[in-house]
């Protein structure tokens, strides 16, 4: 069992957990993820790491309660245990000096982005963060992000990516950005990657297709990158944004949507 040592709730449905997992906390780096399984009947859920505190043996993660499995996880409070918490999995994002970098995060990925932004700043980059949310009530970690980077912006996304596109385009046109990093929903990451590519700026996207084991065994997470099939779990999750087949990724992400809806409805009605 991996004990939840701290829990914080952010409206409307985001949870922050600190989880006691000494081995993971010693090795975790930005860009990597864990696979968590709540109990004997649980799914293996990939969750991106948003911080590691090796002195306290803990790992920080954020997740949104969007399906039955994340609702199961969200039922846990401080002192409760997660049955399995395996990692760190996937490749860490290389921390190099790019000069200026832009870190754009949507939805639940604010904590993950902050973790990367701090690390990139730690190796001497000038870091600009952009926080994207579907409405003002969904923004969180705004103060923390502002304090951690050189420049920060928030954008509320009511119009399918146009807001973030405009903002990112402006920032790229103004500065000398060496690389754009992005985490978040696929349409948003895609929009950011497209804006960057149009300006000849390299971009890193972080992909979370459907996964089962997270260690290269199942191949569910295959994505087409630069015309070749890659596994997000062992070849990624970070890929060059210009090379990703986003149409295929979007389609594949929906494969289990009907089952997820059934489980969610049953979970909401208290049947599960």
């Amino acid at each position: 069992m991996y004990k939840v040592t701290e829990r914080r709730d952010y409206p409307p449905n985001v949870r922050m957990f600190r989880v006691r997992a000494p081995a993971v906390s010693r090795k975790a780096a930005p860009g990597q993820f864990v696979i968590a399984r709540v109990n004997e009947r649980g799914e293996r859920i990939p969750i991106t790491i948003a911080g590691a505190e090796p002195g306290e043996d803990t790992v920080t993660v954020y997740f949104a309660e969007v399906g039955a499995s994340t609702r199961d996880l969200g039922r846990l409070g401080e002192g409760d245990g997660i049955l399995n918490f395996s990692g760190p999995l996937g490749n860490a994002i290389p921390l190099k000096g790019y000069g200026e970098v832009l870190c754009v995060a949507g939805g639940v990925f604010q904590g993950v982005n902050l973790y990367l932004a701090k690390a990139l700043r730690g190796v001497g980059n000038r870091v600009t963060c952009v926080q994207v949310a579907s409405d003002a009530g969904h923004l969180f970690l705004v103060d923390e992000t502002r304090e951690a980077c050189d420049e920060s912006h928030t954008v509320v996304e009511e119009d399918e990516g146009r807001g973030v596109k405009g903002l990112v385009a402006g920032l790229l046109d103004e500065g000398e950005t060496g690389r754009v990093f992005t985490f978040g929903p696929v349409p948003m990451q895609r929009a950011v990657a497209e804006v960057a590519s149009a300006r000849g700026v390299p971009s890193s996207v972080s992909l979370y297709p459907v996964m089962v084991d997270g260690t290269g065994m199942c191949g569910a997470c295959r994505v087409t990158v630069g015309g070749a099939t890659r596994f997000a779990c062992i070849d990624g999750p970070e890929f060059d944004g210009a090379d990703v087949d986003f149409d295929e990724l979007t389609s594949r992400l929906r494969y289990y949507t009907p089952q997820e809806k059934i489980a969610m409805v049953l979970s909401e009605r208290g049947v599960l």
Partner: protein, 467 residues
């Protein structure tokens, strides 16, 4: 004379019943059946069956004990060289190993050694396995990577030799392919659990959720005080066909399909949270045991038509004949000398069919099987809504990528000395599918035994030179 008699058949669930459940298909011998079968053994002075066993089980010895109804002793006799008898009795290809060498087989049917092994092991488990005596500790700690057949064997053997073995398993359950790959109806998970419990009762420490190469590297294991490391991480990376349309929804690897079904128990969704989808018309690509397991799972999950599409002929099927027959009895249809050329999808990205080509068989290739080549103009379409690709696996690359100096082949298998299973790094040994590529449970166990002996010797030498 008893030996002239036919093999005693083992009862099975009727095909019509068993395609509606995940319960074990083969039901095992009764005591009378076991004793009758054991009585057929000729007790050869120079038993050739033993030479056919990769772990050298004392076959005439344990069979004789079954004949005398000393079943617990029979199981212990097997366990002297094989820590997983209930598993091997079920999934070993005995027909190509011990039973192939049986003298009875020259004129009639060989002794049903596998069924007897299963009987003895099940009997012992049913009567309550006693905790074995622990061998006095002789010093030395070994980290075993992976809890599949090779890892469990190495760990058990090292404990018996007085060395401390700790297993590191990446998944949330021990057993490796026995747990995630082989379905419940062929190898009940309760039995795997019991065999793992037996290995743990020898004193082995088991660490789950530990992906070596990520959670800890091989170098860090040595720094943590281990004297040697055994890598038995298996062949976990699924191969795909590399044909157009392979990433359509509804096309998956056999690994994914079997992991969802066996390890995650998706057949009990939504009570178990991992979903699985099986359409009405399923094609399984490949002809090995993994293909048979996938096809039979697909039937049980509601597939109405399940095809096994294999590029060679029936005679070349790499699957055990028994498994192919079971699949056929259950209603799986075989399409031999057929290969998919591309997958066809609808506008929402779901697979709806595949274009296949007929194959002709030429001269035997390097594998000794006749090599298939496509017949021009023989293309035809097959309507399917689920495709399971079961054309093999290669080793998981994580350890090879994160361990400096570990020599691997282009196919990703780890290079070892065949006698000692020693790798290019001092103190690091490897065995099982990560060395051989996807092979059998028992060959992995044979490699595990060899490695354990070599590791034991290595530690002995290391201790002496330290004194």
């Amino acid at each position: 004379m008893a030996s002239g008699a036919q093999q005693v058949e083992m009862p099975k669930q009727a095909p019509r019943d068993r395609t509606r459940n995940f319960d074990e298909v083969a039901l095992g011998y009764s005591e009378e059946q076991a004793v009758a079968e054991a009585s057929r053994c000729l007790r050869c002075k120079n038993p050739r069956c033993v030479k056919g066993c990769p772990v050298g089980v004392d076959i005439p010895g344990f069979v004789g004990l079954v004949k005398e109804r000393r079943h617990v002793e029979a199981a212990r006799r097997i366990k002297e060289t094989n820590s997983l008898p209930a598993v091997c009795g079920r999934v070993c290809p005995q027909e190509n190993q011990c039973q192939m060498n049986c003298v009875l087989g020259v004129k009639g049917q060989p002794l049903a050694i596998g069924r007897l092994e299963r009987y003895a092991a099940d009997y012992e488990r049913g009567s309550g396995v006693q905790t074995p005596e622990q061998t006095p500790r002789r010093g030395g700690r070994v980290a075993v990577v992976g809890s599949g057949p090779s890892g469990l064997t190495v760990a058990a053997e090292l404990q018996r030799r007085g060395r401390q073995a700790d297993i590191y398993e990446s998944l949330h359950a021990p057993g490796g392919v026995l747990m995630y790959g082989i379905p419940e109806f062929r190898l009940p998970k309760e039995i795997v659990q019991a065999e793992v419990d037996y290995v743990r009762s020898l004193g082995v420490d088991l660490h789950l959720d530990s992906t070596i190469g990520r959670t800890l590297t091989v170098g860090e294991l040595f720094r943590a005080g281990y004297d040697a490391v055994f890598i038995g991480s298996g062949a976990g990376l699924p191969h795909f066909l590399s044909v157009p349309g392979e990433n359509l929804k509804g096309v998956c690897s056999a690994n994914e399909f079997l992991i969802r079904t066996n390890l995650m128990k998706a057949y009990r969704f939504p009570e178990y949270r991992t979903p699985i989808t099986v359409g009405r018309r399923v094609a399984v690509i490949g002809g090995g045991n993994v293909a048979m397991d996938s096809a039979r799972c697909a039937l049980r999950l509601g597939g109405e038509k399940v095809y096994v599409v294999y590029r060679r002929g029936k005679g070349e099927l790499p699957a055990r004949m028994e498994e192919a027959e079971n699949a056929e009895e259950e209603g799986v249809e075989f399409m031999f000398q057929t290969n998919p050329v591309r997958f066809i999808g609808d506008d929402r990205g779901y697979v709806t069919g595949m274009e296949c080509v007929r194959m002709e068989l030429g001269e035997p290739d390097a594998s000794g099987r006749r090599s298939p080549s496509p017949i021009q103009g023989s293309e035809f379409a097959l309507d399917v809504d689920t495709v399971i690709v079961a054309i093999g696996q290669s080793p998981n690359p994580i350890i090879q990528q994160t361990t400096e100096g570990l020599e691997a082949t282009r196919r990703g298998t780890i290079v070892v000395d065949e006698g000692t299973m020693a790798t290019s790094i001092r103190g690091v040994y490897a065995g099982g599918d990560v060395v051989s590529g996807a092979a059998t449970v028992i060959s992995a166990m044979g490699a595990g035994r060899a490695a354990a002996a070599a590791i034991d010797g290595y530690i002995e030498k290391k201790c002496q030179s330290a004194m």
